[in-house]
């Protein structure tokens, strides 16, 4: 038997064990990135095989905690991919203006940088007071960070550049106060944001939204799980609602392809048309 086939079997056994014992379901995560991260954990735990990790994870809940932390990817920045936010301003905001009340779901919000970015943008466009932003993530630890809205001060220079490229209208520093090497974002930005835990793998829809943002989350899922999440988003979007995805994510080749049209401007904004 080939070595890579054995590796695949060991991964399946590891994920099956974790699912049955702890209830966390990674069985439909994209294999290539999952495999890389599993090997990274194996090295960090000073082990030599996937089966060795399985034994440790199942018998040592603290190892499971570390496993969970290592598996969840939390790479985000404020106004990440500035052109996405610029297009949000130009193409999506005019649509949102037609609604008396706007419900936004940011799925996989991680530590919250992009939610605050959105809050700032909506504030500048005079829409924030009619918005309710639901920011969800599977990981409670990053949600705590998101709720706090406190980020390292040394990131602000980069975030300011992004903000300006995204069409920012003010001095970015107006939105935070600095203290102890940190930037603390103004509490009024949080007023209409609800942070809560939601697991795209198993949880269901919890409201109807005008816009859903989910960027660079689906790339971690395999096609089967992506399909589940696209169905979930479809159920959760109003007619003519908008789904915003990551730069390299697409609705092409999915069963919902015909149900959406992509907005102009090159970014991944899909409008539900049926």
């Amino acid at each position: 038997m080939l070595r890579e086939q054995l590796e695949d079997i060991e991964i399946q056994l590891l994920l099956e064990g974790i699912h049955r014992y702890y209830g966390f379901d990674f069985r439909n995560y994209a294999l290539a990135s999952l495999k890389r991260r599993i090997w990274k954990i194996i090295r960090a735990e000073s082990l030599t095989s996937i089966s060795g990790l399985q034994e440790k994870v199942l018998h040592d809940p603290e190892c499971m905690e570390r496993f969970l932390c290592s598996l969840s990817v939390n790479v985000t920045t404020m106004f990440r991919d500035p052109n996405f936010f610029l297009m949000f301003r130009k193409k999506v905001v005019p649509i949102l203006r037609t609604y008396p009340f706007i419900r936004v779901w940011h799925a996989g919000c991680s530590s919250g940088e992009e939610v605050y970015s959105l809050a700032i943008l909506l504030q500048e466009e005079g829409l924030y007071h009619r918005c309710r932003l639901y920011a969800t993530d599977i990981n409670e630890m990053v949600l705590k960070k998101a709720k706090a809205g406190i980020y390292p001060l040394d990131a602000m220079q980069y975030y300011t550049q992004n903000y300006l490229q995204a069409g920012g209208k003010k001095a970015f520093s107006e939105y935070y106060t600095s203290a102890y090497e940190h930037a603390i974002f103004s509490s009024y930005l949080k007023e209409n944001i609800i942070f809560s835990q939601h697991n795209l793998v198993i949880d269901n829809s919890f409201n109807e939204f005008n816009i859903i943002l989910c960027r660079n989350v689906l790339i971690y899922f395999n096609r089967f799980l992506q399909q589940r999440v696209f169905n979930l988003f479809h159920e959760s979007l109003v007619q003519f609602g908008i789904l915003g995805l990551g730069r390299q994510e697409t609705m092409k080749f999915t069963p919902h392809e015909q149900d959406y049209e992509q907005l102009e401007g090159g970014e991944k904004f899909y409008r539900r048309i049926r």
Binding site: E7, A32, K35, R36, R37, P82, N222, R223, Q248, T250
Partner: protein, 194 residues
């Protein structure tokens, strides 16, 4: 064994090297090619457009889960790792998969990540090419490719704008073949046209 995939990695000086290599691949080249070129995370479409100038094949930045087909040159998108995986046990069609995991050998996209995942998917049906560059990315990936029976080609360092990356691979003993830049495309054509 029929070659089914070619993975190319390059860093500093890569654009000029890729021009020569891509210009040498004919329009009917039968094997898909993926390229990781190190670049800034906010890079736009310019690299793809520049490479298209020199290629008879279509140069494209793949979307997540895009199917891999011959006739295309796939360029790793800025700020994403480009990986290859099989869809499932039932459907063993390889497709691209992207991620925004931490940089590997200081790079995202990383050559090691493409090479290692390509080795898993294609084993001995793979050729990897390492071109000019100023770091050690790609060396670990080539080690895995060799272990899985794939072929590795390294640019002759004297023909590289920056010899550090080819030299690292040669010193590590992971190069099957060391070829001057001008000879790499003819070698690939020979290996892939049966």
């Amino acid at each position: 064994m029929t070659i089914q995939f070619i993975a190319i990695g390059t860093s500093l000086g890569g654009l000029e090297a890729l021009e020569v290599l891509l210009a040498g691949l004919p329009k009917n080249f039968p094997v898909p090619v993926a390229i990781v070129q190190h670049r800034h995370k906010s890079s736009d479409d310019k690299l793809r457009v520049a490479l298209q100038e020199y290629s008879a094949l279509v140069v494209t930045e793949p979307q997540d889960k895009e199917e891999i087909v011959p006739g295309y040159i796939y360029l790793a998108p800025a700020d994403y790792h480009l990986m290859i995986e099989v869809t499932s046990d039932a459907v063993r069609e390889p497709s691209f998969s992207l991620c925004v995991d931490a940089a590997v050998t200081y790079a995202r996209p990383s050559i090691d990540v493409l090479f290692e995942t390509a080795a898993d998917t294609y084993a001995e049906r793979l050729i990897a090419v390492l071109l000019t560059g100023a770091n050690h990315d790609g060396m670990q990936g080539m080690r895995k490719i060799k272990a899985r029976g794939g072929k590795t080609v390294v640019q002759e360092p004297s023909t590289a704008a920056c010899p550090i990356m080819p030299e690292a691979a040669i010193a590590a003993g992971v190069a099957d073949k060391v070829l001057p830049l001008a000879d790499i495309a003819p070698y690939l054509v020979k290996m892939c046209n049966f």
